[in-house]
Amino acid sequence: MKKTIFALAATTAMLVAGSAFAQDKTKACFIYVGPIGDFGWSYQHHQGALEMQEALGGEEKVEIAYLESVPEGADAERAIERFARSGCGIIFTTSFGYMDATNKVAAKFPDVKFEHATGFKREHANVSTYNSKFHEGRYVQGVIAAKMSTAGVAGYIASFPIPEVVMGINAFVLGAQSVNPEFKVKVVWANTWFDPGKEADAAKVLIDQGVDIITQHTDSTAPMQVAAERGIKAFGQASDMIKFGPETQLTSIIDDWGHYYTERVKAVMDGTWEQVDVWEGMAEEHVVMAPYTNMPDDVKAAAEEIEAKIKSGEFNPFTGPIMKQDGTEWLKDGEVAEDGVLLGLNFYVAGVDDQLPQ
């Protein structure tokens, strides 16, 4: 017992010393679900972190620390707590599976700020949540797909049946149907966020089934590379994947976390950080389209037009009339879906050639 008390005292002393030392420098810490070299989700978060550091005055002002490939089980809590104890002023946990762990650790460290990506739980005043409206980009992709496809069918490599992914599939279909009402989408569930082997297999299966456009909601560049080999077109995911398919990529949805990270870390530095729940899209440039490539000028013009409309707020991809897959009406003519419904979305719209895993 004595030893424990001694150790506790020593720990506290170290923590106090640590925070005193770190006062002129803010430490921002990041937990990634995949490797930063995935060229997708985690890579893009890390790019955002680096952009933030650059924008706020470089290494002298902001120190960055990160842990990659942190499993979404009991390990997450330890990883987050380690950061909280090592002088981090703000900790970004960048995957849905860190939700409980983030809130648990936040309860123990009220002076540290926590930012959880894609979740919905803010149990303590020092926890914010943030996410982006990726589906806005999906709608633009759908428009392009329908104009480019001769088969009238696109292949969609999906990760897990969570609302965000379902939302993406629906937005893609709606975009495509705005051009060609008969357009269909085939979906393969890879059940992974990052597994180049599985993702490549999924792409091959879809191409063998006759799709001539591939889009993905998984994080590796493998589907792009398969599409390039087979000579069809594809959309990148999370980052600009043009290097992996110079003749293949039509565009890509780029997750641009840099602005958000800069804004939030700056708020910590200024002492103005407050809890928020952020869900921004193209208008705020949290979602950015990579250059439109490998397509005729008229398709490019159509894509740019719809992108501009979404960006200006003139058009919302989830505007009625929209029918559900089962044939019932979801949104009446002109009706716009509420954010709350979208964030819990668990059904397909008409035109998806798949059964949603329930």
């Binding site: 424990t4 409980d100 897990f160 049946p161 969570i162």
Partner: protein, 373 residues
């Protein structure tokens, strides 16, 4: 010219006991070299890796959390491996144990009293044992290869878990996200010393299990039977032991302990059933079992060493900026050195020069090395 392994007539007892330490020492040296090649200070690197996690109380709690499932699973695996049953599917038995145990609070949420947790633990153990019984019976009845069947059942178990948390067991309040509702307070394995960290009674359970299995293996007829069958099934048959019965027994013990580890992990460390509940404990425990020389008491120590390698890996990532891949590399090196040391204790390396006229040499290794997966 080629290398041959020749079985030593007698094995050094001293080196058998020292082997894990030698292996650990070799890993430290090799790790230091890797840090050097990466351009990092090896002393800092090794300090971050092996010492830093031991310097803080909360981190010791985390060590216990990490070691508990590894020890529980590896203790069970030792029974399997000693009887030459290569159960590679502990990860699946862990998963099914977690599911079976979780069924109680999920199906009977109103049932809240002191009986819930013991029932969950029992169901977890039964679930794991039942899952392990499949490869066991297939092997005992049809002589199927248990390495393949047990391994493939891992993926089946994970898909069942996935289906449950996305479908029937999904928390209605979770906005369509895949996770089961959080356990109520009676269904959670209590923390040992809540004041200083979150370690729970799982580690105590693991050590009790290790002592019990150690007693069984070294002091009872059943333990003798397990070891005899493992070393020589024929001799075992002469002794009146049934190979089939031993296969089933070893798998049931192993599966039950893996299942117990599964329910302790979700109920103690995570707090709910979710798609991902294990970072590969069932596979890492294979390293633990061999590092502990298939001796349950050695496994307790080995479990802490491997747990340390996870914690240290994080400390090294943050402290000196190496990637998470170094953790895997370190663990791989550890297993490699343990097996290499074992091989050299049992075998001598001989250099054979080709002799053109001589008839082909006798089969170099007449008996497969003991303890090799």
């Amino acid at each position: 010219m080629r290398l041959e392994l020749v079985k030593r007539p007698q094995q050094s007892a001293l080196f058998s006991a020292l082997s894990p330490f030698i292996a650990f020492g070799l890993m430290v040296v090799a790790g230091g070299v890797i840090f050097l090649i990466l351009g990092k200070d090896p002393v800092n690197g090794l300090y971050a890796y092996f010492i830093e996690p031991l310097t803080e109380v909360w981190s010791l709690h985390e060590l216990a959390i990490k070691a508990a499932p590894l020890i529980l699973i590896a203790v069970g695996l030792s029974v399997c491996f000693l009887s030459s049953n290569w159960n590679i599917g502990a990860e699946g038995q862990f998963t099914i144990g977690a599911i079976a145990g979780s069924a109680i609070p999920l199906y009977f949420p109103q049932f809240q009293n002191g009986a819930v947790l013991p029932m969950m633990l029992i169901c977890g153990a039964i679930g794991g044992a039942a899952w392990a019984a499949i490869p066991a019976i297939l092997k005992a009845r049809f002589n199927t290869n248990e390495i393949l069947t047990s391994l493939m059942l891992v993926y089946v178990a994970q898909l069942i878990l996935d289906w449950l948390v996305r479908g029937p067991w999904r928390d209605p309040a979770a906005m369509s996200f895949p996770q089961a509702p959080a356990f109520h307070s009676w269904a959670i394995v209590p923390e040992l010393m809540p004041m200083s960290g979150r370690a729970n009674w799982g580690i105590v359970l693991a050590i009790v299990a290790a002592v019990a299995v150690w007693f069984m293996l070294s002091r009872t007829l059943k333990g003798f039977e397990v070891k005899v069958i493992g070393q020589s099934p024929r001799a075992g048959r002469f002794g009146g032991f049934s190979t089939a019965r031993t296969i089933v027994f070893a798998f049931l013990v192993s599966g039950a302990l893996a299942g117990l580890a599964g329910i302790v992990e979700v109920s103690g460390a995570i707090g709910r059933l979710q798609p991902q509940i294990s970072p590969g404990y069932g596979f890492a425990a294979i390293i633990v079992a061999f590092l502990g020389r298939l001796n349950p008491l050695g496994i307790v120590a080995a479990g802490f060493v491997l747990a340390l390698s996870y914690l240290g890996g994080e400390a090294a990532q943050i402290g000196i900026g190496v990637t998470d891949k170094t953790v895997r590399a370190f663990q791989g090196m550890l297993l490699f050195f343990v097996l290499a040391c074992d091989t050299l204790i049992h075998y001598r390396v001989r250099l054979v020069r080709p002799a053109p006229a001589a008839p082909p040499a006798a089969a170099p290794v007449t008996e497969t090395a003991h303890g090799h997966g």
